[in-house]
C-alpha cells in the first residue's frame, strides 16, 4: 500500500502514514485524502504556491506556519543546521508512517539543573 509521506508535527516531525489516494502533481509524493490540497498538491507544495491558511483555528495552519518558524528560529539562533535538518527531513520522502515508541514512566520532579 502507498502511504502518505506528508510531514506532520512541529518540533517532533513525523510522516502522516495514512493510505495515499493520489500523488502530488508537483513533487510526486503520495498524499492521503486529508493532505491533498488544491489541485491535489501536497501540503508543502500548496504552501510553496501561497495557499497557506493564516487562521490558526484551521487544522492546516500548523503545516503552513512550520517552515516560517524554522526559518526564523534558525535565524534567531544563528544555527543554519537547525533549518537544514528540518528542510532535509521535510523534502525527503523516506520513512513513511513513522510512529513513536513509548517513552516510559515519568520520574520525580525537577532538581539539580546546571547551566549548559
Amino acid at each position: 500500500m502507498n502511504r502518505c509521506t506528508v510531514t506532520t508535527g512541529f518540533f517532533v516531525l513525523g510522516r502522516c502514514g495514512q493510505q495515499a489516494v493520489a500523488s502530488c502533481p508537483q513533487c510526486a509524493r503520495p498524499v492521503c485524502a486529508a493532505h491533498a490540497g488544491p489541485g491535489g498538491l501536497c501540503s508543502e507544495c500548496a504552501t510553496a504556491q501561497g495557499y497557506t491558511n493564516q487562521d490558526p483555528h484551521h487544522p492546516s495552519w500548523t503545516g503552513g506556519f512550520r517552515r516560517r518558524y524554522y526559518q526564523s528560529s534558525s535565524h534567531a539562533y544563528r544555527d543554519t543546521y537547525w533549518y537544514s535538518s528540518f528542510d532535509e527531513y521535510d523534502r525527503g520522502a523516506f520513512n513513511p508512517g513513522d510512529d513513536y515508541s513509548h517513552g516510559g514512566d515519568w520520574g520525580d520532579d525537577d532538581t539539580g539543573f546546571v547551566d549548559s
Binding site: 518540533f11 528560529s73 544555527d79 537547525w82 527531513y89 549548559s116
Partner: protein, 243 residues
Amino acid sequence: MFWRKQKAAIERFHPLHRALTLEKGFAVSLRRDDWEPVIQSLARHRTEIRRRRWLLPARVPGVLVPMLRIMASDMRPDGVLSVAADVRGPRLPEKTGPQYDVPVQRPVLSMKQWYAMDPWLRMRAELRDGSVLELSVTDRVRYRRRRKRNPRGKIKIKTKTKTTHLVRVTRRLAKDTAVQRPGTPPPPWIRVQVKQGRRMMFRANGKLPGPLGEAELIDRILHVSTEPFRWTPPGRAMGRTTT
C-alpha cells in the same frame, strides 16, 4: 431581554470556550483530539459575540489557539495536553505584590513601586517521542506611581507601567534518548539549563521586554521553546531508542 442571541450562542459554545468567555479562564487536562472541538468552538467567537464584556482578549486567537495546535501536532491521539489559561489580566489583588517607596528627587514628591505577576498560560504536553513539554508564560508588570509638583505648584499623580513577558519551557526526554549538543549558543535573552541523567531535561527561560503584540509574542515563545528541541534535531535523534 438583552443580549438574547449572544447568550444563546454562548450556551452552544464548547464548555471550555464558555468558561473562557464568562469566567475568563479554565484549567483542564484532555486527550489530544478532545482539543479540536474547543478550537472549532473558539473559531466562531469573533462572528457571534459583540458585547464588550464577553469579548476574548487578542491573546486567545493570537497565542492560545496557535499553541494548542502546535502542541497537539506533536502528540499521539492518546497523549494528554493540560492547559491552564487565565485571561483576567494582571489587575487583581491576588496577582499584586507589596508596594514600597522608592527614593526620589524634586520635583517628584514621592514614588511607590509594586509588581504584579500574571501567569496567564501554562501548558503540559505528552509528546509522541516520549518527551514531556511544559511551558508557561507570565506577564510581570512593574507599576510606578509618582506624586509630582508641576511648575504652577499643583500636585499631579501619574502611574507608569512596564511589562516583561517571562517564558519558561522545560522538556524532559524519554529514557536514553540520543542527544547532540547544538552547534551555536542560544541568543543572549534565552538562558538554558540542562539536567543530565537517563532522562535528560532541558529548561529554557526567556525574558522579553513587552508588551509585545500577539504575532511577535508567539514567535518569541517558540524561539524559547526551540532550545530544548535543538538537542534532538529533526531526522537525527528522533527520540527513538534503537534496539
